[in-house]
Amino acid sequence: MTRTSWLVPALLIASVLALFGACLLGSTPMSPARVLSAFVGGADAADRLVIWQIRLPRALAAYLVGAALGISGAALQGLLRNPLAEPGVLGVSASASLAATFSLYYGLAAASPWILPMAAIFGALIATSLIAVAAIRTQSVVTLILIGVGLSSFAGAAMSLLMNLAPNPFSLSDMINWMLGSVANRSFKEIGFAFPFILVGSAILMMSRRGLSALTLGEEAASGVGLDLRRQRILTVLGAGLATGGSVALGGAIGFVGIVAPHIIRPFVGHDPARSLIPSAMLAGLILVLADIGVRILPSSNELKLGVVAALIGAPAFVWIAMRRRAIND
């Protein structure tokens, strides 16, 4: 068996187990038998309610948010040829949350449930396009990450401004939910409004993944072997924007998972960006489901935010990856 052939099945099994585990654990632990019978419509009504209305949607939301960030991170890393690229670091998630909160607190989102995810995607697309345009002008990823820092700071400041100016009541905890990310109290309805965007974005990334492999050679040689650079940039920006926007609409801005998952996956797929997309998505989903289980069972008076746990694991990993990079690849 080659190294890659067991990777996806193993991740699939682990993901199913994690999702099932997320249904077992919680403030009232349930036995596997009770969870299983609730799944198939047996058990008592309270059990079914807990599983179908609370635990399963929450776990699925965590998985979807993670998967969208994982595939976007892997694709952006391929496009920018750098392992530090990721929606959170590049300011894409923060811009998406800003646009989402804007739509929410200026009452636009009340018009249709589709407005919120579309606003988040709009914010994400603006940020990804900015990054992609900047990437044409500079080869330095440090510059891109600094632009990301700028975008994130701007989004944070603008959100504080919104908080002061918005006509609708806007609480600090709302803002923290968007900026740090959480999948608490998500329902299948909310998942339904974000999922199509995540799906389409991921499909675009998968469809254009071959070009990411070609970009390994650098842009000049990639065009030399037959890559349409402009088209590749547009498709990756669009795909990552849709997927990240959808994930932010569902769970707010959760950082770093899009760096950690592809980094772990890469050696298993021969460092090929194209082949890292699906496994990165699965691993990132798995990580967030596990992190969310941690959030739920940690005994704390106020529930921790999922994004906080993700950053506690992810930020040190980011620093570690950054420090190990050789200066020449800058």
């Binding site: 890659t4 040829r81 750098n82 993944r209 071959r210 492999s213 070609a214 970009l215 390994t216 050679l217 650098g218 000049e220 040689a221 065009s223 030399g224 072997v225 037959g226 890559l227 349409d228 650079l229 890469r266 021969g270 460092h271 090929d272 960006p273 194209a274 082949r275 690849n329």
Partner: protein, 253 residues
């Protein structure tokens, strides 16, 4: 028969003239060395010829089609291009990098049909990389990496090759190895345009020399005709001793 016919190429960028009235032809079984000092316009000539840079005027026929009208994939099937900057973003295996040469045929690393796999294997053999196929590129020496890039270019099995300084920063033995590989490609019926800074190397291998200066082609022809003491002085500002195809550079003027 695929050939490049470039006529009267000019390139102006931000009011700087990078290329002016350059014409040349690259045919099968030709090994053209493109010579000239830094900034003479060699890379501009290559990029404009390929259609990677939009020309200000002139025409380029690449196998009968205007090079700017070709899709990137169609172009890649007619001419393999080895740019000056050859970064490798990830430490892929040698086989996977060479497999990228099949991109224009719809292949990708790990997804090669038998035809692609055969082309990759042949390219690996031609460049003497069969013992290194599973090595990761970050563990290779400079000479080995240069051969990987050559193999990547040959994997496309394109009738023409354009290489921008393929032997830069290599030791003499590795330079000869790369030039031998390109020579063998030309002997098999390929046509190659190669930017070189090493005049003795160019004189040894090339069937034609194109001399560039200040965005123009100053001279063109076989080494026996165009390699002269006067030309070395005009183009490079060096004193040289020349005996047929043998060149000895004695110093700056």
């Amino acid at each position: 028969m695929t050939e490049i016919i470039a006529k009267n190429l000019s390139l102006t960028k931000d009011s700087a003239t990078l290329l002016q009235g350059a014409s040349f032809t690259l045919k099968p079984r030709q090994l053209i060395a493109l010579l000239g000092p830094n900034g003479a316009g060699k890379t501009s000539l290559i990029r404009t010829t390929l259609g990677l840079e939009k020309r200000s005027s002139g025409t380029v026929s690449l196998g009968g089609t205007d090079s700017e009208a070709l899709s990137p994939m169609e172009r890649a099937r007619r001419v393999a291009y080895l740019p000056q900057q050859r970064p490798l973003a990830w430490p892929n295996s040698v086989r996977d990098v060479v497999a990228l040469g099949r991109f224009a045929y719809g292949a990708a690393p790990g997804r090669l049909n038998p035809r692609d796999a055969q082309a990759v294997n042949t390219a690996l053999e031609l460049c003497d990389l069969t013992d290194l196929t599973n090595r990761h590129t970050d563990t290779l020496s400079g000479g080995e990496v240069a051969r990987v890039h050559c193999a990547r270019a040959f994997a496309a099995e394109a009738p023409l090759l354009i290489a921008d300084e393929p032997v830069a920063a290599l030791d003499p033995r590795q330079q000869f190895r790369i030039m031998d590989i390109i020579q063998a490609y030309v002997d098999r019926g390929g046509g190659a345009l190669v930017v070189l800074h090493d005049i003795p190397l160019a004189a040894k291998y090339a069937s034609h020399l194109i001399w560039m200066q200040d965005g123009r082609i100053a001279a063109e022809g076989p080494p026996e005709e165009t390699l002269t003491v006067q030309r070395m002085a005009d183009i490079y500002g060096v004193r040289a001793h020349i005996d047929g195809r043998k060149v000895e550079i004695e110093g700056a003027i």
